[in-house]
């Protein structure tokens, strides 16, 4: 996939439509973040590190398909993909006509740090770094508030610290939490986001400590990647069935990088079996799909590629075009090009909604 990339007779920036990109990954290496940590946590970071809930000190549990899971052409002259603002501006923001790019800083996984105090300190450092090194220098970029989500009081404090700061568009959680996200442990976080008027963005990955399937640990990175769709179905089921959207009617959730085409069948399954077992979830006043249609949005990368393209239209009809937000996942290997990735031709209104208007509305810019 990511070997030599032939330069397509590519459209230049001027002819590319203006887009909002809802998933851009800035990379802060440990050395970059150290200045944003106190002396105590600098020492801790260097002596002990993150202690993730998997077995490798560096790198992910499942080795990626290519270095840093990045496009081979996204390596800047110095440093690693996503670490160089000027390079990103030229290669991505300018070239792809990105009027607004929402950054999701998924690494280091501060939310999954086993030392909760370090997780909180690291999250603060990551947020300060995002403002100092990125959003204060580039008005097209917004950041997501990194929180230590397994420590809800600290996470709430982090949300409240940044609430109202115009450089932050949302609160970020990684999908593989230690408990299903709808459970009451996380309610203070959801409440804080609702109070602050910020969406909860859930990005695929993270390590909650349990096997990444309900049937044990699979062997391959490919299984992990396909599996994000199943993982996010489980977390969405939890949010709905725990009655979170009854409890927090202003809550908005964005699922990032977990696919979208699975949503219709999940809604059908939830509706059918929740109705059958309604006595178990009296906290629900409406059908599961009603909550989803009102409170949940999804980003499109990795773009769905049906075997027959026309089936894409069925999927959009079942989900609703208004729930879908375009994202590229820059600089990662499975980047979706805004010009080439959509497998069908949508009418102009739908296209404009998908690539720009839905996100503008979602982030309150419309």
């Amino acid at each position: 996939m990511n070997f030599e990339i032939a330069q397509r007779a590519t459209k230049d920036a001027a002819s590319r439509p203006v887009i909002v990109d809802c998933d851009i990954h800035p990379l802060g290496e440990a050395k970059d973040l150290l200045p944003y940590l106190s002396q105590r946590w600098r020492e801790h970071a260097q002596s002990y590190g993150l202690l993730p809930r998997h077995g490798f000190q560096s790198g992910p549990a499942y080795p990626k398909g290519q270095p840093d899971a990045a496009r081979l052409d996204s390596w800047p002259p110095e440093g690693r993909p996503g670490s160089d603002l000027a390079f990103m501006q030229k290669q991505h923001l300018d070239f792809n006509n990105v009027e607004l790019g929402v950054m999701t800083m998924i690494s280091p996984a501060a939310g999954a740090a086993q030392n909760m105090d370090y997780g909180a300190a690291l999250a603060r450092a990551m947020n300060e770094w995002q403002v100092a090194e990125w959003t204060s220098k580039e008005a097209r970029l917004k950041a997501s508030i990194v929180i230590p989500y397994e420590d809800p009081p600290a996470a709430v404090a982090e949300i409240e610290h940044w609430a109202g700061h115009r450089d932050f568009a949302q609160v970020l959680i990684l999908s593989r939490t230690a408990e299903p996200l709808g459970q009451r442990k996380y309610w203070p976080i959801l409440a804080a986001a609702e109070r602050a008027g910020l969406p909860i963005a859930v990005h695929a990955f993270g390590y909650g400590g349990f096997p990444v399937t309900g049937g044990g640990w699979p062997s391959y990175y490919m299984e992990e990647m396909v599996g994000h769709a199943q993982c996010c179905q489980a977390l969405l089921s939890s949010l709905v069935l725990e009655g979170v959207f009854e409890r927090f009617p202003g809550l908005r959730v964005l699922l990032i990088e977990a696919g979208v085409a699975w949503l219709p069948s999940l809604m059908w399954r939830l509706d059918k079996h929740q109705a059958r077992l309604a006595s178990e979830t009296p906290q629900l006043k409406r059908r599961p799909s009603d909550y989803i249609r009102e409170h949940v949005w999804l980003t499109t990368q990795p773009m769905e590629e049906p075997e027959r393209r026309k089936h894409f239209h069925d999927m959009v009809e079942w989900i609703g075009i208004d729930r879908l937000l375009f994202a590229t996942d820059y600089p990662h290997w499975d980047f979706d090009d805004p010009v080439w990735s959509l497998p069908v031709r949508l009418d102009d209104t739908a296209r404009q909604a998908l690539f720009r208007d839905n996100a503008r509305k979602f982030y309150g810019l419309a």
């Binding site: 996939m1 990511n2 398909g65 999908s175 593989r176 939490t177 230690a178 408990e179 299903p180 459970q183 909650g208 349990f210 096997p211 399937t213 309900g214 049937g215 044990g216 640990w217 699979p218 062997s219 391959y220 990175y221 490919m222 299984e223 990647m225 396909v226 599996g227 769709a229 199943q230 993982c231 179905q233 489980a234 977390l235 089921s237 939890s238 069935l241 085409a261 699975w262 219709p264 069948s265 999940l266 059908w268 399954r269 939830l270 079996h273 929740q274 059958r276 077992l277 178990e280 979830t281 990795p302 769905e304 590629e305 049906p306 075997e307 027959r308 089936h311 069925d314 999927m315 499975d334």
Partner: protein, 365 residues
């Protein structure tokens, strides 16, 4: 409240199908004692071994038995005469495959698991298969130990009324992994499909994000469990390694299949250097070797969307008729969505099961 008057006697449908998912219940652990050797029989009695009904189906939960299929006493599916009347005669089925969900696979002792699996199979043959020529069995195996499971398949396969091997959807390790391959080798040796049925041995949370708080969530999550198991069977090369084995996903739901295949195939395009032995599109592998029972039909009942889903699946060969008796998946006596064309019903009722189950095909020839 006065009991409702019984509905007027309707003629029962004569669908003439092969019901690929019917659940007989072991009335209680004591029913297995006659089928255990002295050591394990004594163990059951002396240790006061508890009943082994799986957590995956709480006995009193609405889903576990349709109201008109819930007996006044005893477990749903516990009485052979009632099952013959309701599950077989009730739909005019020619054949029903009995998938016994007694949770012997969940025991941590592989010896105890193997002994109880043997007992369940012998009990099933004697107390059920001997009672009516329309009944067929699935071989319950101790998934705790693949060699023991293979031995149990070899032992039971001599009785040709056993038509497939039965595995729980979620257990210790993903089902494609090589430690399970002796099970598939044995199945291939005897020409038996391998059924994977909803349910967990609860070695891990049923979701990748931890333990859910409700049965509803657990049950909904089974569909995602099946998806990850298919990924495992594909990526580990189990489908290609055992090309003559059909995997039957039972009580899995199937409306998730198209979207799942899109994503699986997309990532295979991107990452197949990691699994070079997967040398065909996973969608083609799955369409060739994987089948799905009809119920639960996770789609709006009007059926128009189901037809679109079947169009997305790209094959009419994949669905096998099932009532999932006594589980409550539909009401009345039509297990099909209204919009399904007659020809497709016929395929699901008879043609597809016959193509899947060689032993039934031989019997009905």
């Amino acid at each position: 409240m006065a009991p409702a008057a019984p509905p007027p006697q309707q003629p029962r449908p004569q669908l003439g199908g092969i019901d690929c998912d019917v659940h007989p219940a072991v009335p209680g652990i004591e029913a297995l004692v006659p089928y255990l050797d002295a050591h394990w029989g004594n163990a059951v009695v002396q240790r006061g071994l508890h009943d082994l009904e799986p957590t995956s189906y709480p006995l009193r939960a609405p889903l576990t038995a349709r109201p008109d299929w819930r007996p006044a006493s005893g477990k749903p599916g516990g009485d052979v005469v009632t099952v013959l009347d309701q599950a077989l005669d009730g739909f005019g089925s020619r054949i029903a495959i009995l998938n016994c969900l007694y949770a012997v696979q969940t025991l941590f002792s592989e010896d105890m698991g193997a002994a109880l699996a043997r007992a369940v199979n012998d009990w099933l043959a004697k107390e059920w298969l001997d009672r009516d020529p329309r009944l067929r069995g699935s071989i319950v195996v101790p998934i705790q130990n693949a060699e023991m499971a293979a031995a149990e398949i070899d032992r039971c396969a001599a009785d040709r009324r056993f038509v497939q091997v039965l595995l729980p959807c979620l257990s210790d390790q993903p089902l494609g992994r090589r430690l399970h391959w002796p099970i598939y080798e044995a199945a291939q040796r005897h020409g038996l499909p391998v059924a994977i049925h909803a349910g967990s041995t609860y070695r891990h949370p049923v979701t990748p994000v931890g333990w859910p708080s409700t049965f509803t969530e657990d049950y909904v999550a089974q569909a995602q469990g099946f998806q990850t198991q298919l990924t495992s069977l594909v990526c580990e090369g189990a489908l290609s390694r055992f090309p003559d084995v059909t995997f039957v996903l039972a009580e899995s739901g199937f409306t998730w299949l198209p979207a799942y295949l899109w994503r699986l195939t997309k990532y295979w395009h991107g990452l197949r250097m990691e699994v070079p032995w997967v040398d065909r599109s996973p969608a083609d592998l799955i369409r060739a070797q994987v089948r799905f029972t009809l119920q639960p039909l996770d789609a709006p009942q009007d059926g128009a969307d189901v037809l679109r889903v079947i169009d997305h699946i790209g094959s009419e060969e994949l669905l096998l008729f099932s009532t999932d008796y006594p589980h409550w998946q539909f009401d009345g006596d039509d297990p099909f969505p209204a919009a399904l064309p007659q020809a497709l019903r016929q395929k699901i009722l008879l043609d597809n099961p016959l193509a899947t189950y060689a032993r039934i095909r031989e019997d009905l020839a």
